[in-house]
């Protein structure tokens, strides 16, 4: 019984110290959150570039006809160019 009480006390103190430790430290400097619009555009840019790479490999592997590959390549390039233009526009904003 006494042993159980001691173990429980040690456990309780341990948990309190673990939880309270960050509260007694100084408040850190908080990083600003990333710009959500910019992050979304960067994601779109990366997705388009990766899709272009995969398209070339699939075409080379014979999974796509030349016409299908060309059409998809054009669409992906247009998408990447539009995204990059939008990103540039965002950079120039104050």
């Amino acid at each position: 019984m006494l042993a159980a009480v001691i173990v429980l006390l040690v456990l309780a103190v341990g948990v309190v110290v673990l939880v309270a430790w960050p509260l007694v430290r100084e408040r850190g400097v908080e990083a600003s959150p990333p710009d959500a619009r910019r992050l979304a555009l960067l994601e779109r840019r990366d997705a388009a570039l990766q899709a272009l790479q995969e398209l070339e490999l699939d075409h080379q592997a014979g999974k796509l006809t030349d016409e299908d590959a060309e059409r998809e390549r054009r669409t992906l390039r247009d998408e990447a160019v539009a995204t990059l233009a939008e990103l540039e526009g965002l950079e120039q904003q104050p």
Binding site: L8, G14, V15, L18, R27, A40, Q60, G62, K63, D68
Partner: protein, 665 residues
Amino acid sequence: MELLGRGALLLALFAAVYAPIAALIGARTHDQRLITSARRALAGCFVCVIVASGVLVTAIVRHDFRFASVAGHSSREVPEPYLISSFWSSQEGSLLLWLLVLSGLSALVTYQHRRRSRELMPYLVAFLGGACAFFAFATSFVASPFETVAQVPRDGAGLVPSLQNPYMLTHPPLLYLGYVGFTIPFAFAMAALVSGRTDGRWLQAVRRWTLVPWLALAVGMILGAKWAYEEIGWGGFWGWDPVENAALIPWLTATAFLHSVIVQEKKGMLKVWNVSLVALTYVLCIVGTFLTRSGFTSSIHTFVVSSVGWWFIAYIAIVATVAIVVIVRNLDQLRSPHRIDSLVSREATFLFNNLLFVALAFAILWGVLFPSISEALAGHRVATQSPYYDFFAVVLGLPLLLLAGVGPVVAWRRASLRGVVQAFRWPFVSALAAGAALVVLGFASSAAGVVAISLCLFVAVTIGLELARGTAARRALTPGTSWPAALAQLVGRNRRRYGGYVVHLAVVIGMLAIVGTSAYATSRTLVLAPGKTVQFHGYGLRLRGIESPITRSYISTEAVIDVSQGGRRIDTLRPSARTYLDSGEPTKQIAIRPLLHTGEDLYLVFDGSPRPGQATIKAFLNPLVNLLWLSAIVLVLGFAIAIWPDPRLAARLARRTNEAFARAR
């Protein structure tokens, strides 16, 4: 012991309640210290649950029958390795195991993402802490594993004999890891929506944390099937039991998500659908748990009727309401500018596959709920029989199998007819040839069987061609590379895609086992007399005699049968019937002769003695059944390839995030 167990659980409850409160206040006041403190509270909760679990394990090992959960589910006669099964065979212990896994995963995932997902953290902690608080409350006040009995018995009631099986040491914990694991993607999805950070970071985390419980459920179900096959003695491994279904239903919706998330990553589409699938999967896990714990359904391994069911209903209602409100309030964030251009495209294939998976999940759920619904509405219980489930498994499962072959190959956005013909001519011809060969060889007794095997070949050839074409393309890019090196490079550069193909291969292998046992298995009841040989599908069965060994735990009656093939004795099998001394429960011990090169099993069940010295034997021949166990190994291999961290992917994500953060500063 009782005080320590109860006290540790109460401390866990305090920590779990503190975590969401502190996290949400921290988010509101932008106080990072409070959020860190809340995150650490989850770790504190885990430590307390470890102590409580240690107390229960000690009580089980020491045969401390003061605890009702120990007295009711173990005894001094239970063999030592199986004693640990007593932990989760009681309602109370299983809830404690749930809490142990949940708090452990919560502590791990919040520690792992403390920097990467900073903006999500308060909400992630809040959702995980809320879930931990519910289970800590349930184990503290509703179904405590530390409840004591008024009069301590000299021995416990024992562990159900059928649970004294090696598979029962792994099957339940894996299912728990599966059920509980789906809390993590749910919490991530909700946290991303509430914090307005629905970029790729949460998606990557959710995908990885969906794969882990998905695999755990899959392997858990296969091990459960192996247990049922070897222990129950009806010749099969899947009986559409409510508890089996409870695991299968969320697995199906999670599988749908693992496919549709690819469309979101590649095309930015199906965002609402994806978060809804994540939420649905978690809700279905809790519904499954409710079904097995409330006495709502009857099954060979449901828990006793208990008041915990009402608490589960309340929890399901809260989780579902929160999920719906969070998704509806954030619909704007989830809108996609893209549309599906063509029905013949990879995104459309994934959408069809998702609709089929979800339809199958709901068809099975309806089958599970229908007996109780019919009882409530019409006053009598109408059981859902296997033909109902088999019908939907065939009608929805076969198109799914076809899509497993089509999806990975068809082009994104829009595929031309020429492209489709070019990609699928060889798989299609192979499937057609396989179907014709099966009909000629006499397998036309099951049309679904012929179609399923043909489709399996279609998928296998598609995967084989994919690997061959990809490897050839890689060799063309880097001349001089050997075929194995090119294959390794190919897989290494896109682990997710090729890991997925290996998983599809596992599905094909598993499907062959299912088709073999459901469409082409045969069985017969044989009466064997001593010394006489009876023929059964090319096997000669000769009863050598009947023996009655007695051990400390049970009395057994064994039929000793010599098995021969082509006149040559190949094995001696001993199917038996046992009666356990402590519980008086009769069980059947199956005798199996596997033929690994054909994948078939000769499966014998002892069904009593019609006359002294004779034995009634139910004999089954199960073709291809062993492929199911092989599929589990291939599945794990595919999973390992798919989940192995891709440094290029991580670097790209880090670079993108850094770019976005740099601008914010």
